[in-house]
Amino acid sequence: MTSAIAIRIVEMLPAVPAVPMADVVEATSHWWAGFILWCPLISLALCGLCAAFRVKSKLPAWITVLSLACSFVLTIILGNLEDVPERIQLFEWISVDWVGGSFVANFALYIDSLTILWMSFVTGLGTLIALYASEYMETDVGKGYARFFSGVSAFLFAMGCLVMGDNLLMLYLGWEGVGFASYWLIGYYYRRPAAVAAAKKAFIVNRIGDLGLALAIYLIWSTFGTVQYNELITHLDAGTFAASYEHWSVEAIPYLLMLAAFGKSAQLPLYVWLPDAMEGPTPVSALIHAATMVTAGIYLIARMYPFFLLEPTSLHVVAWVGGLTALLAATIGMAQYDIKRIFAYSTVSQLGYMFLGLGVLTTYGASYHVFTHAFFKAVLFLAAGAVMHGFAGQLDLRKLSGLRRMKGWRIVAWTMFIGCVCLAGFPFTSGYFSKDAILAEAFVTQGPGFEALGWIAIFTAFLTAYYTFRVWCRVCAGPVHFEPGDELHDDGHHDEEHEFHPHAPRFAINFVLVVIALGALLASVPYFMTNEVSEIKGGWIADMVNDSTAAAGIPGHEEHPGTIAHDAGHAHHGSILGMDPHVAMYWISGVVGGIGLFLAFWLHLWRRQDADRLRSWLLARAWIRWLPVAMENKWYVDEVYHALVRAPLWLLGHIAYGFDRYIVDGLLVDGTARLPRLIARWFQPLQNGLLQSYAVTMAGGAALITLLMVLMMQFFEGGSVQ
């Protein structure tokens, strides 16, 4: 990057001469990459046909699994062929030309390593979760089965457009597309009012973010005259617009993009839709609301990172919002009883970590955490889904216990354990490394209160370990005990009179759980792999991030990609307790995680009555009572929204409608129309309906006119009437 950008960020880091990005290649020979998108689209069409013809088999699932697997394979092939960013034009979409300018947004793909990184786990997990869903949704075969899988296909298509698009408009297409797919799938159980409301809420809250994205696109286009990544990056790279970097738009762009990212990735203040989104079927929660779609915000900021570097304050905001969201969501997650909700808040919290990572200049850490989180959170959700599936929708962790001792549930219990270990950041798991990459950087990077932010994040890590194992200890460990939920399938096997038998997951669910749990464990491997070029840790993930726009413009990334402040070359090297942050963090987070883990085992496995005792103790003390109450009521954020946004708008709507009916229409329009009638009222007595009175009036009028004429003639002509 040019010095123009470097000058802007000199407050944060010393400027380091940058190497321009590799030129983008038009790769027409890679036209087949389009099939990464077309496969889900074809699957969508076929599933739609299945729905139209009411296919009563698992055909839609197999179509979807097969097409997503094709996408995955193609992604991997493409990833191995690709070494420089390339552009693949598919067809012309929106282009307006005029004399002296044009607006071009084609349906084209922009493939760089960041794209490949994202697409690999999106399509890979998509395939596996579709396979899982083929069993999970089987009670709906012939009913909503095809609808479900067409939704999944639509989601994968939209997510592909979002990640692989070559311009911001394609990104927007995917952005709204995944929002719609999420709406479709959250509202899958469309007869449940809660599901419909949650779907609506998700779409509308996301739309607020979309507004930010739309405005950002307008602003970027009107400032730079293009929405294509490669042109934008080239312009920024070459400093074409260096003179305009003081323009207000350059400062506004990152904040607008941030709004979009916060909406999609459920950050303060727009996170409220994500916990409600758990009304959707669990595979959807795993795929869309944990692993893939919600990371779109991270992707957006990573992709548009150069714009953020032009306005460093925006990164401070990102960091703080991320850190605070992580803390807030973790505190709420601690106090919930619904397993899926806990994991949902945990997702919000982990996404907060990722934003924190972006804010403290480690796009590598953020992306790595996205990658690991996708696996372990997917495992957790899928395991929770298996429980829900088997226990007729039961998700209350107080009503389930001892799963690991039940026949057929061991795989679920132990894969869930793997997920928990990773999420809690237990030493040497994938979550441990990816989280540390972010936490340490918070102490390294200079920024307003970043050190405090680091401690907040460490405290959150403690809470995370606690609430994660709270779930596992309650549900999987302890004595065997369960109550079924209220979603008894009416297939005759377990009527309410009969005793309830949980049905254990079969092959598809178990297989997918094991594969993804292995993935979650293996996700730590890249950390140990040495980068071929720069010989620093982070392996191919760091490589992939650093070869993309996500690292463009971070000073020093050329020397030591990803962990930019890794060595002594760094001027403001931070420290924790006098130690190197990266070394110290291994110890600190290990210890903190251990404490949380111990606390969870104590309160929720060994002496469960202590937990209740603690709760009642807290509730009995007036000075601390508000804390558990507020946490259990999610800090009343929904209520605040209702009071501050929904109710006033609703009122405003009624006022506007009243205004329209009575003032605009009633007073102005009808009033004007009534005016002639009012005037006519004076003359109305003449219209009495009696023929003769009309005749008298007429005769009188005629006489009057004649008289008048005679008089006038006399007046004008001196009385010479013939």
Binding site: Q684, L690, L691
Partner: protein, 110 residues
């Protein structure tokens, strides 16, 4: 020619005709205003028509301008057509309420 014709009608000046026309018109008008029977009222309007026609024809004769006579023929035609229409309407109205009193139809007064 003017002289010849003038001697033939010397006893009857234009004013005679106009007075006759005026009388006819007033009779028609008074009849129209005082009677309630639709047919009589209609006949009265015819009377007024004819009064106007006499005035036209006399004036046309007086000034030797045949427009007046043309107009009378026009009036007669219109009156005939009108009579047919009006009587048809009267018959229709009678069928509705079996009365010919004009005051029974007051719906137009709002």
């Amino acid at each position: 020619m003017t002289l010849q014709l003038a001697t033939t009608f010397s006893q009857l000046s234009l004013s005679h005709y106009l007075v006759l026309s005026g009388l006819l018109f007033v009779i028609g008008l008074v009849g129209f205003l005082t009677r309630r029977n639709l047919i009589v009222m209609f006949l009265c309007t015819e009377l007024m028509f004819q009064a106007a026609a006499i005035a036209f024809v006399a004036s046309g004769r007086y000034w030797f301008n045949f427009t007046g006579q043309v107009f009378v023929i026009f009036i007669l035609t219109v009156a005939a057509a009108e009579a047919a229409l009006a009587l048809a309407l009267v018959v229709l109205l009678y069928r509705r309420r079996s009365t010919l009193n004009a005051d029974d139809w007051m719906e137009l007064c709002e």
